[in-house]
């Protein structure tokens, strides 16, 4: 059994490696094409590239000491928002999922209203409601307004992923647990969740990537995240091309690293479910 599994895995990796060469080749052609287009466009509008001025906004070395520039400061705020929001968003998602699955009518209603509101209004408007309405009422500062807004937004996706995962466990499993005299909590803990988790975790991890991207919107309420830093620098220096390309690359580095970690983790989960 184990042998067979490793052969399958080996076969898969081999196929992937073969096509990786062609993939790289195609990407190179595509990439150079894109770069050529941008450069030609810039040349036509007489854009003066000033890449040498960009690094100081990332970092400076003064008296042998490394000092972060505004872009790194902004990135850290983006990551901070991301870290708080993923935790809060998961909690919101978990509670909402359980409310939707509960026997309580008012619980289900509350969860449904929340989901419909978040799903059917633009994120930008949600942010304004948090910032201009809830912020002043509850005296929340703009950083936490940002965290709350993003959490409630991503929480709605988390809720549906968690609910779907729990529902994907066949009803007979819960019935078997109940018929053995296990309490509802024990049935959840030992039977439902362990089977739902491998289904829930990969898409849930994907939310983390979305969250980093969606968090750029907090720049409209002047939270000093990566996007706001970029805007500020451009308004002083007019280096729109260089800074936006740099900012986009920084988002890319974060989201791609996250994706790699996640797919590693996914493969690990898959292997551990295959093994048992």
């Amino acid at each position: 059994m184990k042998n067979q599994t490793s052969t399958i895995v080996a076969a898969r990796t081999k196929r992937r490696r073969n096509s990786a060469i062609t993939d790289t080749f195609q990407l190179l052609i595509l990439g150079s094409g894109l770069i050529w287009l941008v450069l030609r466009g810039a040349a036509e509008m007489n854009y003066v590239w000033q890449w040498h001025r960009v690094p100081q906004y990332i970092y400076k070395v003064i008296d042998g000491e490394l000092i972060f520039g505004p872009l790194i400061d902004g990135l850290l705020v983006t990551l901070e928002i991301g870290a708080y929001s993923i935790v809060l968003g998961l909690v919101i998602g978990l509670i909402t999922a359980f409310l939707r699955l509960s026997d309580s009518y008012s619980g289900r209603l509350l969860a449904t209203i929340y989901l419909e509101l978040v799903r059917n209004t633009p994120l930008l408007i949600q942010l304004f409601v948090f910032y201009f309405v809830l912020g002043p009422i509850f005296e929340i500062d703009r950083f936490w307004v940002a965290v709350l807004c993003i959490s409630f937004f991503e929480g709605s996706f988390a809720a549906e992923i968690i609910r779907g995962g729990i529902l994907s466990v066949p009803k007979g499993q819960v019935e078997a647990g109940a018929s053995l005299g296990l309490s509802r909590a024990a049935t959840y803990r030992y039977i439902t969740l362990p089977q739902a988790l491998p289904i829930i975790l990969p898409p849930l991890a994907g939310i983390l990537v979305n969250l980093i991207k969606h968090s750029a919107i907090v720049s409209v309420i002047a939270v000093f995240d990566l996007t706001t830093s970029g805007l500020d620098i451009i308004s002083e220096t007019f280096m729109a091309f260089e800074i936006w390309i740099t900012v986009a690359s920084m988002y890319l580095v974060i989201t791609i690293s996250l994706s790699i970690v996640i797919s590693r983790f996914e493969r690990y989960m898959k292997r551990s479910t295959l093994a048992g």
């Binding site: 059994m1 066949p170 007979g172 499993q173 019935e175 078997a176 647990g177 109940a178 018929s179 053995l180 005299g181 296990l182 309490s183 024990a186 030992y190 039977i191 362990p194 089977q195 479910t273 048992g276």
Partner: protein, 245 residues
């Protein structure tokens, strides 16, 4: 004799549809009852009401001296006394065979891991597959899985065992190994209600056979009498269909 299970004028509705219509049934300690009847006649619904996987709408159900009511705390206690074996086995696919067996003894009865494992091995021996303890359900044949499911129920040391078509999902060559285990269980004096169309099993192991149709108990008689002189025409028709089948 002490009544283990007693259904008195039980009604069950799914919306407007009446799945159980004035069902009454008495099962004494150590008695084995086979329930048969056409598909959709309410057999599953009836035995699922006995461990309250379905809630009945009217009438009374008593299980080893306790009436089944809303009382949740009591319900888990009652369920520990009532084992159930499902048509689709419903083994826990993420747990090894031995973990399937030890889960409820540990988490519902509070046994230590070593005591629970010992218990598990005892019952795996009784269903003749101790060598499969470390495997996962997906690695076993259907017949083996169903025997694990029986052992899993027995690990809670129930007073009553309910079987809902335990061999219907099995390939023909595996039916016997499961029925043999059930016959041994019957010989040991377990109180059993078995929904099945295996009339050979009924003749060998049952004291009483119940025939259901359209949510009603049409006929209920000692095994011998049920097969030799059935009263109702519906029973006769059903028997002729199933025995020539």
């Amino acid at each position: 004799m002490e009544q283990m299970i007693s259904l008195k004028h039980v009604f069950k509705y799914f919306g407007e549809f009446r799945a159980l219509n004035d069902v009454s049934l008495e099962v004494a300690a150590g008695e084995r009852v086979v329930v048969c009847g056409p598909s959709g006649s309410g057999k599953s619904t009836m035995i699922r009401c006995i461990n309250r996987l379905e809630e009945h709408d009217d009438g009374e159900i008593w299980v080893s001296g306790n009436q089944l009511t809303e009382d949740v705390k009591k319900l888990t206690e009652i369920r520990k006394d009532v084992g159930m074996v499902f048509q689709q086995f419903n083994l826990f696919p993420h747990l090894s065979v031995v973990d399937n067996l030890t889960l409820a003894p540990m988490k519902a009865r509070g046994l230590s891991k070593s005591d629970a494992t010992e218990l598990a091995m005892t019952y795996l021996n009784r269903v003749h597959i101790p060598e499969q303890a470390a495997k996962y359900p997906g690695q076993l044949s259907g017949g083996q899985q169903q025997r694990v499911a029986i052992a899993r129920s027995l690990c809670m040391q129930p007073k009553i065992m309910l079987f809902d078509e335990p061999t219907s999902a099995l390939d023909p060559e595996m039916i016997k190994e499961v029925l043999d285990v059930m016959i041994e269980l019957a010989e040991d004096g377990m109180t059993m209600i078995v929904v099945t169309h295996e009339m050979g099993f009924a003749k060998k192991a049952a004291n009483k056979v119940v025939f259901m149709d359209q949510g009603e108990v049409v006929e209920s008689a000692p095994t011998e009498q049920f097969f030799s002189q059935p009263e109702s025409d519906r029973t006769k028709l059903f028997l002729s269909q199933i025995l020539t089948h």
